[in-house]
């Protein structure tokens, strides 16, 4: 059992949660993740550690309420406890002084890009942060990214804030104006794939952080397997970061859809049950 210290909504359906996990906080490095089980009947879900506080003994996760498990987790409040949290899992980001690092975060991916950007800046790199979302209200962690990077550029699909367009437009601008040593891209697969297309021809090393379905997170089931450079890798132990130009994104997308049918049923059921509970609360049953 691990106590939730705080839970706040930072964008529609997006929660930032601090959880008491001193052992994990003490060991955690940028890029690593945890697996959380909200309660006894819940799934084990992987969530990147957005931040940690060793003195407080806490880790911070940022997640979107998109499926049954994140819906359940998102309803929990400070003072509640999650049944299980295990970590830090995965390999930490290889942080080195390379020169100029562009960190691209799309949607919820910004929560993952943020700690990496901070670590790269701390290592002496010039960090340009690019964050994008579908609209202004879905943009997250802008202030935090501003603090972590030397410069930030923002885009929204609908033009409600910053550049009207995609993160790749802004990336192209940066590449055109200065030498970039490495690009980090975290976000929905189409975004990561698009970034890799932009950086392929100029030959800029691009690192992506993948988010397949996982069960154990310690390399024993192979559920998170992806093809990188023609070889099968387990994201939980070999990743979560990989050379973006080597990743078979098409296969990843298909594997991510494995439970879409079941998930849709579960989410529908969750909402119906939630409505019933709210109705009962209103009628005082």
């Amino acid at each position: 059992m691990a106590e939730i210290l705080s839970a706040e909504t930072i964008a529609p359906e997006t929660i930032r949660m601090r959880i008491h996990a001193p052992k994990i906080a003490a060991k955690r490095e940028a890029g690593q993740f945890v697996i959380i089980r909200a309660s006894e009947h819940s799934e084990r879900v992987p969530l990147t550690i957005a931040d940690s506080d060793v003195s407080e003994g806490s880790v911070t996760i940022v997640f979107q309420m998109v499926g049954h498990s994140t819906l359940e987790l998102g309803e929990m409040k400070a003072g509640d406890s999650v049944a299980d949290i295990v970590g830090p899992l995965g390999r930490a980001t290889e942080v080195e002084k390379l020169g100029t690092v562009v960190s691209v975060g799309g949607g919820i991916g910004t929560a993952v890009a943020l700690p990496i950007a901070s670590a790269m800046k701390a290592a002496g790199n010039r960090v340009v942060g690019i964050i994008g979302a579908r609209s202004k209200d879905l943009l997250i962690l802008e202030d935090e990214m501003r603090a972590a990077a030397d410069e930030i550029l923002i885009s929204t699909d609908d033009g409600s804030y910053g550049h009207h367009g995609f993160v790749t437009d802004l990336l192209q601008q940066v590449i055109d104006r200065e030498k970039v040593d490495v690009v980090l891209a975290v976000g929905p697969v189409p975004m990561m794939r698009a970034v890799c297309k932009v950086t392929l021809e100029p030959g800029i090393r691009t690192i992506v952080s993948l988010n397949p379905i996982m069960v154990d997170g310690t390399g024993m089931c192979g559920g998170c397997r992806v093809t990188v450079g023609g070889e099968t890798k387990f994201v939980c132990v070999d990743g979560p970061e990989f050379d973006g130009h080597q990743v078979d994104f098409e296969e990843l997308v298909k594997r991510q859809r494995t439970y879409k049918g079941i998930e849709a049923d579960d989410v529908g059921r969750y909402h119906r049950e939630r409505e019933c509970r709210l109705k009962d609360a209103q009628t005082g049953e």
């Binding site: 084990r44 069960v215 154990d216 089931c221 192979g222 298909k254």
Partner: protein, 472 residues
């Protein structure tokens, strides 16, 4: 042995054999000839006093029988259910030469279940506290055995488990209908009542480093198991609907995906192919049936005789309607446009000369390719030692297959104070072998904790293969 009828049990996850009634148990136990030189004991990897406990059942002293077993086998309720007795004790029973051997496994199960169900589990007296602290990595059969032995000898024991529940393969690998999880829970509760501490969600090598573990404990036992699934390496293996048996079984057994009140999803295929011929393949196939498959097929490249699974599992699978495509090997997994498995291209095999496992090598028959339509494929061809610990402890000698190297006679590794046993050392093997290794390691850890001598000398009295007691 009374069992659930096949037609009924293929739709539920309840245990298949009901277990002996007291009458049946005493009747079966009375068949034992009480041989002067009991061969059965020679066949047991931990040399349980088989004639001894059987005699106690004849006398109606069932709790005593359980205790007699527990002197050498700490988890009899589990071993009685999962040991391949037909290759061990029962294979050597004299009665088996002309008829049926004494059903040693079923009697072991009976005694252990009786003791538990009648609340007769005795809490032994613990030796005075030694002031020493032991860390056990992994709450699987090897780790649970080491913990049980060392706590009784007066040491403080903490088990560190990566998953959120204890048992290792007992929890995630073996299905509910073969090994009810309540039994695993009861065994762990027993250890807790003796004072063993368990820390879940702790990955040694990630949450805590090996160095830290060594700093804070006087000795460490590594029983982290063979949790690295093998894939065939054929095209199409990453299609949706293709599972390693570990993933399929973990979803069903550990995460209880077979129950509607648990959230973890599992694909309930209608035409399921399981590649492999061992117990894990049988477990996967029988689980698929229970999850509602219309057809489940085993695809195995050798023949029936070469299948490593327990006879009882193969027999139960056949009765439940699992089909056996023997002498068949998959060469490609075929998918549809959405990236879902739609079948497997297979080739027929014939048996040639024996390979280094001693079994006849399967050889493809040219031109015999055919397509097997499927909507789910489960790859159950084996596991290697999980690499997390071997790769995170410099100085820990490892073998080619990723296993930790440990002395067979003592369990000692190349790191001072660190012992290892079970699948992490041998590669995937049996529960009883893991327990036997745990026994050996515990004995030598106890001595190391007392005298600090490294490397430890093999204890001649420690249980070894086949040297048993003199019988009744």
């Amino acid at each position: 042995m009374p069992e659930q009828p096949a037609e009924e049990r293929r739709h539920n996850f309840d245990e298949v054999p009901y277990g002996y009634t007291e009458e049946l148990a005493r009747a079966e136990a009375s068949r034992c000839l009480k041989c002067k030189k009991p061969q059965c004991v020679q066949g047991c990897p931990v040399a349980v006093d088989i004639p001894g406990f059987i005699e106690l059942i004849v006398e109606g002293k069932h709790a005593d029988a359980a205790r007699a077993i527990k002197r050498t086998n700490s988890l009899p309720a589990i071993c009685g259910r999962v040991c391949p007795q037909e290759e061990q004790c029962e294979a050597l029973c004299v009665l088996g030469k002309k008829g049926e051997p004494v059903a040693v496994g079923r009697l072991e199960r009976f005694a252990a279940d009786w003791e538990r169900e009648h609340d007769a589990v005795e809490i032994p007296e613990l030796a005075p506290s030694t002031g020493k602290k032991v860390a056990v990595v992994g709450a699987g059969p090897a780790g649970l055995t080491v913990a049980g032995d060392l706590i009784k000898l007066g040491h403080a024991v903490t088990i560190f488990e990566a998953l959120h529940k204890p048992g290792g393969v007992l929890a995630y690998g073996i299905p509910e209908f073969r090994l009810p999880k309540a039994i695993v829970g009861a065994e762990v509760d027993y250890l807790k009542s003796l004072g063993v501490e368990l820390e879940f969600d702790t990955v040694i090598g990630k949450t805590i480093s090996m160095d830290e573990l060594l700093e804070e404990h006087d000795s460490v036992f590594i029983g982290s198991g063979a949790g690295l699934p093998w894939f065939l390496g054929i095209p199409g293996e990453n299609l949706s609907g293709v599972y390693s048996a570990n993933e399929y079984l973990t979803r069903s057994n550990l995460m209880k995906a077979y129950r509607d009140d648990y959230d973890t999803p599992i694909h309930r295929g209608k035409r399921v192919g399981v590649v492999g011929g061992g117990n894990v393949a049988m477990d996967s196939a029988r689980t698929a049936l229970r999850l509602g498959a219309d057809e489940v097929m085993i695809v195995y490249r050798r023949g029936r005789v070469e299948m490593p699974a327990r006879n009882e599992e193969i027999h139960h699978a056949e009765e439940e309607g699992v089909q056996f495509n023997l002498l068949t090997n998959p060469v490609e997994v075929l998918g549809d446009e959405d990236g879902w498995v739609r079948g497997m291209k297979c080739i027929r095999m014939e048996l040639g000369e024996p390979d280094d496992s001693g079994r006849r090598r399967p050889v493809p028959i040219e031109g015999s390719e055919f397509e097997l339509p499927l909507d789910t494929a489960i790859i159950a061809i084996g596991n290697s030692p999980n690499p997390l610990i071997p790769s995170s402890a410099p100085g820990l000698a490892t073998g080619r297959r990723g296993n930790i190297v440990a002395e067979e006679a003592t369990g000692a590794t190349s790191l001072k104070g660190v012992f290892a046993g079970g699948d992490i050392v041998t590669g995937a093997a049996t529960v009883i072998a893991a327990m036997g290794a745990g026994r050996v390691a515990a004995k030598h850890m106890d001595r190391y904790l007392a005298d600090g001598v490294w490397p430890p000398e093999p204890d001649p009295a420690a249980p070894a293969e086949g040297d048993g007691t003199d019988g009744a």
